[in-house]
């Protein structure tokens, strides 16, 4: 299973989670976990997703998610889970 972490950071906006989720559903990407918090008035959301059945290549997904973020005025990033695992788990 190839897992990635999608983060959304920015001012809270109506419909941002809906937009990201719709995009993921359209591309056969399953959401495994979702959590959010507010840090210094900024909305921080994280999704752990499974890319195994994704119909798009990683770099296309990453660019399109970034664009969805830009259009909504928030920052959306998609990164493979390994970088967080390696840094925080022994």
């Amino acid at each position: 299973m190839t897992r990635a972490i999608i983060t959304v950071v920015g001012k809270d906006t109506v419909g941002i989670i809906a937009k990201v989720c719709t995009y993921l559903a359209d591309n056969q990407i399953n959401i495994l976990d979702i959590s959010q918090t507010i840090v210094q008035e900024y909305f921080n959301m994280m999704m752990i997703v499974d890319l195994t059945k994704s119909v798009k290549a990683f770099d296309v997904l990453s660019d399109e998610l970034t664009k969805i973020g830009k259009d909504t005025g928030v920052q959306v990033k998609c990164q493979l889970e390994d970088i967080f695992d390696k840094m925080h788990r022994i």
């Binding site: 959590s35 990683f58 770099d59 990453s62």
Partner: protein
């Protein structure tokens, strides 16, 4: 499962604290490219580099995108060229032909620097070593991406003072040959003692003869991350201070290890080492000097600086060693002047001198690095500086280096701008008393005794 706080912490390191992987360096052996015909040698070199490294830059960019971690440089290190060219080079001009070939290969594969235009002359110089050394000024003047290094001593062999003396002249000639660009050639030329075979950082990178045919070495960085962690504990005692540096170094290095393993598996080239160095850049906040200030000295150079640097260097290694399966290269905090805004500030404030920098190099990697000095500094004085720095390396069994730039036409009070990662630097004053009689003696300094340590 990873939680939100951990994700936020990692991304904050990357976005706000300048965490990056400084370089993926592919080491390539060129020993099998040697031929008695110069043209054939050049063809073989070009073909081998452009074949093995053709996907290096793209792979680096792919990894950076997928993990969301910047990989600043993609580079190549090669077998010291004095060995590769020994069968076919009869004049310094022949070596320059190889330099031009290397420059073309570097441009073709898209790497920003290629290191290994080098000679290892710790004990003595062969004819080809000397030809290569004499070709350095011309080679650096007519290429863009080539880095050169000469190893003039080691703990086991002592210091080759003939080579030290010669390098005084070569540094001056390189400054002169590149005077139109503020003597930039000298920023790509380093004189080493105890040079490691697997260093991924320029300008001293080369692929030693003890290495495999090709290898991936990775240099991690992250002074900004350490600085931020220390800012959170301004009044901590040394125990907590050291623990914090160690913990941060561990996290930084784990990212390097991940990138190295990915690059190695995607390129089909074995993973060599992670170099655990804190390498600053001119970017604000990405500074080793700022860490020293966080630890408690007003400016680097103030009394206490050497001790602060010693503990920083040691804790970075302690944290990093556990995070990586193989550690090598230089592995220590770098203290270049022009590439670190905090060091530049310290020089301009009058806090930091070359003599204090020399003391600092006793406890960290690598040496007198990216220091601009007056253009009229005599070659014998530069040789004296190299001899001092080599002696520190030889006696303390560590790598030391001199990358010093006598900027033609400039003197104390002037500033020199190198641009990009090389930054800018105020010209620093050099002790004006002569070293000439000392460096002109000829011969070599014997290896030090390895017992009766004091």
């Amino acid at each position: 499962m990873i939680n939100l706080q951990e994700v936020i912490e990692t991304n904050k390191m990357i976005e706000q604290e300048n965490l990056d992987v400084r370089t993926i360096t592919m080491g390539i052996s060129l020993l099998d490219c040697s031929d008695k015909d110069l043209t054939v040698t050049c063809e073989k070199i070009y073909k081998k580099i452009t074949t093995l490294a053709c996907n290096l830059v793209q792979t680096g960019e792919d990894i950076a995108k997928e993990f969301g971690i910047p990989i600043v440089n993609k580079r190549i290190s090669i077998t010291p060229i004095s060995l590769v060219g020994s069968a076919c080079c009869r004049t310094p001009g022949d070596y320059v032909q190889i330099a031009k070939t290397l420059d073309r290969a570097a441009k073709e594969v898209g790497v920003n620097f290629l290191g290994g235009y080098s000679a290892i002359v710790s004990k003595g110089m062969t004819r080809s070593d000397e030809l290569l050394i004499r070709s350095i000024p011309m080679a650096l003047a007519c290429t863009e991406r080539i880095c050169s290094s000469v190893n003039v001593g080691s703990t086991k062999t002592g210091i080759n003072m003939d080579a030290v003396r010669l390098m005084g002249d070569i540094i001056k000639d390189t400054a002169e040959a590149t005077k139109e660009k503020d003597s930039l050639g000298c920023a790509k030329l380093v004189v080493l003692c105890n040079a490691p075979d697997d260093n991924p950082f320029m300008a001293g990178a080369f692929h030693g003869v003890s290495e495999a045919d090709a290898i991936i070495n990775v240099g991690v960085s992250g002074p900004g991350v350490v600085k931020y962690a220390l800012e959170q504990i301004p009044d901590a005692n040394f125990e907590l201070l050291c623990e914090t540096i160690k913990r941060t170094a561990f996290k930084i290095t784990r990212v390097g290890q991940l990138v190295a393993q990915e690059a190695s598996s995607r390129l089909g080239v074995p993973f060599g080492i992670i170099d655990l160095s804190l390498a600053p850049t001119p970017a604000i906040g990405d500074s080793v000097a700022d860490i020293l200030k966080c630890i408690g000295v007003e400016h680097p150079g103030a009394p206490g600086t050497t001790a602060a640097l010693a503990l920083l260097n040691d804790q970075v290694k302690k944290g990093g060693v556990m995070a990586s399966s193989y550690v090598g290269g230089l592995s220590g905090a770098f203290i270049p002047v022009s590439e670190d805004q905090g060091m530049i500030d310290a020089v301009e404030a009058g806090a930091l001198t070359i003599e204090k920098l020399e003391a600092m190099t006793c406890v960290c990697s690598v040496g007198l690095d990216m220091i601009a000095i007056p253009g009229d500094t005599p070659a014998t004085t530069i040789a004296g500086i190299i001899a001092d720095e080599s002696a520190i390396g030889m006696v303390n069994q560590k790598t030391t280096a001199v990358r010093i730039i006598p900027v033609v036409g400039k003197t104390v009070g002037d500033t020199v701008e190198f641009g990009g990662l090389l930054g800018y630097a105020p010209i620093m004053p050099v002790n004006t008393f002569s070293s000439q009689r000392f460096v002109d003696r000829g011969g070599r300094i014997p290896a030090p005794i390895h017992s009766f340590k004091n």
